[in-house]
């Protein structure tokens, strides 16, 4: 009884293998039967039946129907595609409006409580710092085009640079990495965004990037000499990001044959009351770093 069951199971497997070989055209019926001579008697009628079924051509509809049905379906698909796009656009615009309304409500509440004013001076090691960052994000919600957004990202990158200077001046290691990483992000965002800005305004942004990155490198090179060794790696990475941004902006300006720089719009970084970084240090910082590398 069990022997018969086992034999049936083996035959089921062999039959399936042979059918797969027949359907893929890798083997013919005789070849399959030659592979399993001990099952030839049972296998042959089953494979002949399979071959007969396979040989019957697939029924086909009239070619006219196939073409007209295709046209009808594609017309429906196009209509659905268009209405789907319109729906997505409507949802996106409603979402934008909702985001702006929410932002306004938040601002009213936070300004009323005085927290916003307090957070404006906070540094990354302060509990109010997330609120400062959130308020910057709110400003982005109200920027309606890439040019305005790029200017904000430049401003935020400047803010982070100021924070870095203040943290180092106050000998505060905590929060330095946050400020550095946020600053890198802002530079990278503006680099991406500049591609979508119309040519007439792109030049202005590119020059602002040049000015920002030049200033960043000066400050970061000075900062590099003041921080303990474990923090130097993060500063070096920030210098690299800044340098790359500078080179890309320069290259874009050269490609666009833009020679005369417009009047810079970014305000200079305010002087930071710095007890540890002397103007002399700042002036020679590049050489110091180069010297330390050597």
């Amino acid at each position: 009884m069990n022997e018969n069951k086992n034999k049936t199971m083996i035959l089921t497997e062999i039959l399936d293998q042979c059918i797969e070989l027949l359907l893929s055209g890798k083997e013919n019926m005789e070849g399959c039967l030659a592979r399993y001579p001990e099952f030839k008697e049972e296998l042959e009628p089953l494979l002949r039946t399979a071959a007969f079924v396979r040989a019957v051509p697939l029924p086909t509809p009239s070619s006219t129907f196939k073409i007209t049905a295709r046209q009808r379906l594609l017309k429906t698909a196009e209509t659905r595609g268009r209405s789907r796009m319109a729906f997505v656009e409507r949802v996106t615009s409603v979402r934008d409006i909702l985001m702006r309304v929410t932002a306004v409500i938040l601002i009213v509440i936070l300004v009323g409580s005085g927290a916003v004013a307090a957070s404006a001076r906070s540094l990354p090691d302060s509990p109010l710092y997330p609120l400062k960052i959130a308020m910057e994000r709110v400003q982005l919600v109200f920027a309606f085009d890439d040019y305005s957004k790029a200017q904000l990202h430049l401003k935020f990158a400047e803010n982070r640079l100021n924070e870095i200077m203040l943290l180092v001046a106050g000998d505060k290691g905590e929060g330095l990495n946050t400020a550095l990483s946020e600053m890198n992000d802002e530079v990278e965002k503006v680099q991406v965004m500049v591609e979508t800005i119309p040519d007439d305004r792109k030049r202005e942004i590119l020059y602002q990037i040049l000015e920002l990155t030049e200033h960043q490198q000066q400050v970061l090179q000075t900062v590099w000499t003041k921080v303990p060794d474990p923090a130097k790696g993060a500063i070096q990475r920030a210098i690299e990001v800044s340098r790359k941004g500078h080179e890309q902006a320069e290259s874009a300006l050269k490609k666009g044959r833009i020679i005369t720089p417009p009047k810079p719009k970014i305000p200079k970084v305010p002087k930071v009351p710095d007890k540890s970084i002397s103007p002399q240090d700042q002036g020679t910082s590049t050489n110091k770093i180069r010297g330390s590398k050597e």
Binding site: T8, P45, V53
Partner: protein, 192 residues
């Protein structure tokens, strides 16, 4: 005719169709139309009904494709499940549980040489008549295996069975079909 080089090609086409690309949907139609029609034809036995149901399958696909997810389910399985459900609804609406006997309606299949039509008609009639005497499950396995090019794994998912069960069912279906074609058995459904 749309040709697929890799599974990724199909995935790309499906993804485009999901976001409303009508050209991509046309490609899916070209890839699957004949197989879906063949499957439905052997399940309903009427070319006009098969045409109508095939078009409805693709309309359903169009309506639901944005909800299709690749979570381990091949697109073909999903498509043939839609076709299968429509066939079930079709029979439910007509209060029938088995296939309709084949008739002279087959001659409307296409406009070929009359001799070729006669040969095809004979093959279709003979096969259709034999298949219609199988049990529901056996009919499904023969049609899905030999007319849709689905793999055992895809058939298993379409019929909610294991691959082992599909192989066993295929064995029994071919044995029954052999007996019917040889004239040893009139109707496998009566033996169930």
């Amino acid at each position: 005719m749309t040709s697929l080089k890799t599974a990724q090609d199909l995935k790309d086409i499906v993804e485009r169709a999901k976001v409303g690309d009508s050209e991509a949907f046309g490609m899916l139609y070209d890839i699957y139309f004949d197989r879906v029609y063949g499957y439905i034809y052997y399940k309903v036995g009427d070319p006009t009904e098969a045409e109508d149901l095939t078009e409805r399958v693709f309309l359903k696909v169009l309506e639901a494709i944005d909800k299709f997810s690749w979570k381990g389910v091949p697109f073909s399985t999903w498509l043939f499940k839609i076709a299968r459900n429509l066939i079930i609804d079709y029979y439910r609406a007509r209060s029938r549980s088995t296939m309709i006997p084949v008739s002279d309606r087959i001659q409307t299949i296409d406009r070929e040489d009359p001799e070729e039509i006669a040969i095809k008609k004979f093959s279709y009639e003979k096969l259709y008549a034999a298949i219609s005497r199988l049990t529901e499950e056996q009919q499904e396995i023969i049609v899905l295996k030999f007319f849709t090019n689905l793999s055992n794994a895809e058939i298993a998912r379409t019929l909610n069975k294991t691959e082992g069960a599909i192989k066993a069912l295929q064995h029994r279906a071919l044995r029954s079909l052999y007996r019917i074609l040889k004239g040893e058995s009139n109707d496998e459904r009566e033996q169930e």
